[in-house]
């Protein structure tokens, strides 16, 4: 096997010999190490002080562009599976549920760490009510005795939807299915 053609040659950097070249490289590396992190990696996003360094801080709210919003016209989505938490919030992220909208044409996606997101060390995307109500089918899965009281309130109570946003999930041209187990349905009347 032939030796590489450059073996034994002296490389120069601005006319310097190998030793000088290496010393210059070492100085560049040393200076780079002394730089603050944001200058070393200008492409890295700043991280939230409260969250882990692995968690990126995303924009608090990001509106869908017009060409994306058309995906959520009523009846165009296929199915959305939600969970109902003990407080009756459809998404489990109560501080981000949007209870107003323009009837389903415009959707909005919120992406942020949030209080619970930071607790779970994750970011999230919240679909708002206009988006959910544009689905062809929405399914709630409600299980456990701790859901009984709130399920009764959502299904048969008179509390406003602002208190229990699950009540506001009503696909305008789709189907809503509640899957409930015996424990969760223990407070419901037989007619429901």
């Amino acid at each position: 096997m032939r030796a590489p053609a450059f073996r034994g040659r002296k490389f120069s950097f601005s006319g310097a010999t190998n030793g000088t070249f290496l010393r210059r490289i070492q100085r560049v590396i040393t200076a780079w190490r002394k730089k603050p992190c944001c200058q070393k990696f200008p492409f890295r996003r700043r991280t939230s002080s409260a969250s882990s360094a692995k968690t990126r801080t995303l924009p608090r709210r990001r509106s869908l562009r017009a060409d994306s919003a058309k995906v959520f016209r009523p009846g165009t989505g296929r199915i959305s599976a939600l969970r109902s938490d003990p407080a009756g919030h459809g998404t489990g992220w109560p501080h981000r549920v949007t209870v107003s909208g323009d009837g389903g044409v415009a959707g909005e996606v919120a992406a942020s760490g949030g209080q619970l997101g930071e607790k779970l060390n994750t970011s999230r995307i919240s679909l708002t009510l206009p988006v959910l109500n544009a689905a062809r089918q929405v399914a709630f899965l409600v299980g456990g005795a701790d859901k009984a009281a709130v399920l009764h309130e959502v299904m048969e109570g008179n509390a406003p939807g602002e208190k229990y946003p699950s009540k506001l999930v009503r696909p305008s041209e789709g189907k809503l299915i509640w899957f409930v187990d015996r424990a969760a349905a223990s407070d419901l009347s037989p007619s429901v």
Partner: protein, 53 residues
């Protein structure tokens, strides 16, 4: 047009997840047969994930 509401009562949580999974499969097959595409949005945490076929 107003959508319909249906309540399905199941005995155990396992039955609940099974029923939900079967519904997802049914709707997915129907959507693919009809339009060649099926889209689904799942909420976070744990429960709906149990229903993923």
């Amino acid at each position: 047009m107003s959508g319909s509401v249906e309540v399905r009562r199941l005995t155990t949580p396992q039955d609940l997840f099974q029923a939900a999974a079967e519904e997802v499969i049914r709707v997915a097959k129907a959507a693919v047969a009809e339009r060649g595409r099926f889209t689904i949005a799942l909420s976070g945490v744990r429960r709906p994930g149990t229903s993923i076929p």
